[in-house]
């Protein structure tokens, strides 16, 4: 009992209710989620302003005698002449592991009906990205579990890789599959099945999407058991443009906490086209001068300051990382539009998804020719490097020759061989949704392809052969898979083991 009394005493002693100076202003006009305020001579940029009824706003425009603020909530109660005061605080959101498994809005408040969030730390939504001294180069891979990406467009922890494509080409699916893959790896590491794996926590930021789409994504993540390692920040189309504008920054703040505490996190911004549109709306209502396509002049900075916050920190700075996967939607495949070119120039590479490929049944519909990762093979383990090195070249040659082969049936044996190999690589890279591969399985499949073990399999049976080969390795050659994972490189001994195992499989495999 005495301890409770002591605690109460310290709490009361800590309370302060002194007279303090505050800076106030009055509402001159309000509408469309934006208020024009008179007074507030001491207001700072991005400072939180307190409106009557506990509503908060964010000071975005500081002019002589006038402040333009965006309102973060229901502003119907705000009237002309209402008093507004500065708070001296920046907009911040709760952060920490307590958010894992939760769905929050742009202000970090829970919207999943699972009760309050357990968090006693909060981070400002706007923060300057880590400088060059605190950073180091990207070298640890993010295993997306998508064979085509891991083999040809590897993503490293701390990298920013853009996912770009037209509507309904599988952009969100690529991002969600990556999250599911991380959850599987995290769980396997917790159970002691894999060693040397640092968990990668995921944040999915939904901006301007339909509520139904967000609910579907959450459902997929829940069914795949990925939610315990994932945080969803949702600012759907029904929310105000101001909340959609803030949501990615809130997500980045949540991710930064993991990075600052020596952990690794991955953040998906789905999507930045809608984010730019929301910012355009806010800017136009604030009467900021508009430029190309009516976007304000600082739309590049809007995304560059967000994506620069993704980084891999040096050992001295904690060694954490934040990987960003922004998504951008194009119109009729036009990558030269304003927002796509901006984001392409900011990121460290892009995965381009094509509608034509999607409808040809190549899913994920990754266009190898224009997809690139500027980090390159630095973000691959040695074994993948050894087996995937030639795949991109094989596939690029195949695409070139494919166009020629259409004109005549007579092609020389060398060209025929390249065409046959290319067709089989395309088949191998087809992958169903929510079914990520483990890295050791990717090595086995790519090894078999490189050594020509798929060459005698009919093209339409490549998928069947691949599945059965994977089953065979999982059930009967677990030791080989383990060896791949432990050695992380293919030496002479492992090469022989792999060849022997594949030959054994091929001896009884009959395409049905």
């Amino acid at each position: 009992m005495s301890t409770i009394l002591e605690e109460l005493e310290t709490t009361i002693a800590g309370l302060k209710a002194d007279t303090a100076r505050s800076n106030v202003g009055t509402v001159r006009e309000v509408g469309d989620g934006v208020a024009k305020l008179e007074g507030l001579s001491d207001a700072m940029l991005n400072e939180m302003l307190e409106f009557p009824g506990g509503l908060y706003g964010l000071a975005l425009n500081l002019e002589e005698g006038e402040v333009g603020a965006i309102l973060l909530g229901d502003y119907k109660e705000i009237k002309e002449g209402s008093e507004v005061r500065t708070t001296g605080r920046l907009l911040s959101v709760p952060v920490g592991k307590g958010l894992l498994g939760r769905v929050v809005n742009a202000l970090g408040q829970p919207i999943d009906g699972k009760g309050p969030i357990k968090s006693d730390v909060s981070y400002p939504t706007e923060k300057i990205a880590p400088g060059i001294v605190k950073r180091r180069s990207v070298s640890v891979p993010v295993q997306t579990g998508i064979l085509a990406i891991d083999a040809m467009i590897p993503i490293g922890r701390g990298q920013r890789e853009l996912i770009i494509g037209d509507r309904a080409t599988g952009k969100t699916t690529v991002a969600v599959d990556t999250i599911i893959s991380q959850a599987k790896l995290n769980r396997a590491a917790e159970e002691g099945k894999i060693k040397h794996h640092t968990p990668l926590y995921c944040i999915y930021v939904a901006i301007g999407q339909k509520n139904m789409s967000v609910a579907r994504t959450i459902d997929i993540l829940e069914k795949a058991g990925a939610m315990p390692y994932t945080i969803v920040v949702s600012a759907p189309a029904a929310e105000s443009a101001t909340n959609q504008y803030i949501a990615p920054y809130a997500g980045a703040a949540i991710g930064e906490w993991f990075m600052d505490n020596g952990m690794d996190a991955l953040i998906v911004y789905d999507d930045l086209t809608k984010h730019a549109a929301a910012y355009r709306q806010v800017s136009l209502v604030l009467k900021r001068p508009s430029g190309r396509e009516a976007y304000p002049g600082d739309v590049f900075y809007l995304h560059s300051r967000l994506l620069e916050r993704a980084a891999r920190l040096s050992e001295k700075a904690g060694g954490g990382s934040l990987t960003a996967l922004p998504i951008v939607e194009t119109q009729a495949g036009d990558v030269s539009a304003y927002i796509p070119t901006n984001v392409i120039s900011i990121t460290d590479g892009q995965i381009y998804l094509e509608t034509d490929l999607f409808y040809q049944g190549v899913r994920p519909a990754i266009s190898v020719g224009i997809s690139v990762s500027r980090v390159g093979s630095a973000a691959q383990i040695k074994a993948v490097k050894q087996v995937a090195g030639s795949t991109k070249l094989d596939l690029a040659q195949f695409r070139d020759l494919q166009a020629f082969a259409q004109f005549g049936s007579d092609v020389d044996p060398g060209t025929r061989k390249k065409l046959d190999r290319g067709q089989r690589v395309v088949e191998l890279f087809k992958q169903i949704q929510s079914n990520p591969f483990l890295v050791e399985m990717e090595v086995v499949l790519l090894f078999a392809m490189q050594k020509g073990y798929f060459d005698d399999v009919p093209v339409d049976k490549v998928k069947d052969c691949q599945e059965k080969m994977a089953d065979y390795f999982r059930t009967r050659k677990e030791d080989v898979l383990k060896a791949v994972l432990e050695k992380r490189a293919i030496d002479k001994d492992l090469d022989q083991q792999l060849q022997a195992a594949i030959k054994d499989f091929k001896s009884f495999y009959k395409p049905n």
Partner: protein, 130 residues
């Protein structure tokens, strides 16, 4: 109607002309208004409207509003006047208001700054902390 950039610039210049040693000069204000009305420059209606707004804000900088839950006795109000004038200059005008929603204490507003020592504000601060 939104004031044009040009009109705002002119009104700011007019305000500068209306000051003597950084303080608003009533005589100069009259002169400025008269000359605008006789010369009628471009957008002069907008200019005068914005000039009026700037004057209002300038006057508010030297006008204190003291709010209390009940009317203050003359001793206390005189003390407040002396102290405020000593701090902010003799040209400060002071207005006393009663506002029962404050519950107790004083709230002084000068320009955009507010010193809120009212019971209502203290209770709210405590509520936020708990």
């Amino acid at each position: 109607m939104r004031t044009t950039k040009e009109a705002r610039k002119t009104s700011r210049q007019l305000l500068k002309l209306s000051l003597t040693d950084g303080k608003l000069d009533e005589h100069k204000v009259n002169q400025v208004v008269q000359s605008v009305l006789t010369e009628k420059p471009r957008h002069y209606g907008e200019v005068l409207k914005d000039y009026q707004r700037l004057l209002r804000l300038e006057i508010a900088k030297h006008h204190a509003v003291v709010e209390s839950a009940t009317a203050l006795n003359s001793n206390l109000s005189d003390l407040l006047v002396t102290k405020l004038k000593a701090r902010y200059g003799d040209d400060l005008t002071i207005e006393f208001k009663t506002n029962p929603t404050l519950l107790g204490g004083l709230r002084v507003k000068l320009g955009d700054d507010v010193w809120d020592g009212s019971v209502r504000n203290r209770l709210r601060t405590l509520q936020e902390q708990i």
